[in-house]
Symmetry: C2
Subunit: 89 residues, 2 copies
């Protein structure tokens, strides 16, 4: 599935409600999922890890939708050989 397809799927299912909620409140849900990912990473439950990764990605797409950002297009910065900003060790 393309990045843009997944973002559109999330838009179709949730964007109307997401926009009503607004960016700050949606960011708080996103962070809740990030916290659940941290818990999953510290545990040894592969299925739960998978679920939490998907949830964080879904909420990132939700934030992108209500911020009018095309995530796949934004990722162009990583497809060149000269990536700026990625952290060293």
């Amino acid at each position: 599935m393309h990045i843009s397809e997944f973002q559109q799927l999330i838009s179709k299912k949730y964007e109307r409600r997401d926009r009503q909620r607004g960016i700050p409140a949606t960011f708080m849900w996103f962070i809740e999922e990030v916290g659940e990912l941290a818990t999953a990473l510290a545990a040894d439950d592969k299925q739960n890890r998978e679920e939490e990764f998907a949830d964080v990605f879904a909420w990132l797409c939700t934030l992108a939708n209500i911020s009018d950002v095309d995530l796949e297009k934004a990722c162009d910065k990583y497809t060149s050989d000269d990536v700026k900003g990625f952290k060293p060790k």
Copy 2:
């Protein structure tokens, strides 16, 4: 670009170093990017927003790589009609 292609691109460029760094230290870099996304969302700079969304996604892929999680496969939970766990208003 497929979700899996982007994850593989990040793997090819960074996974060896990411694995050396380990999950806890990599999670800290991820959170730094999440913080930068928060700053970008609070500002009115579309280009910076796009960059920060891409960075958060790239670091999420890095975490998935070193956790042996296939992010595209994990997203299957969102492609059915009955999504569990997505937050209400």
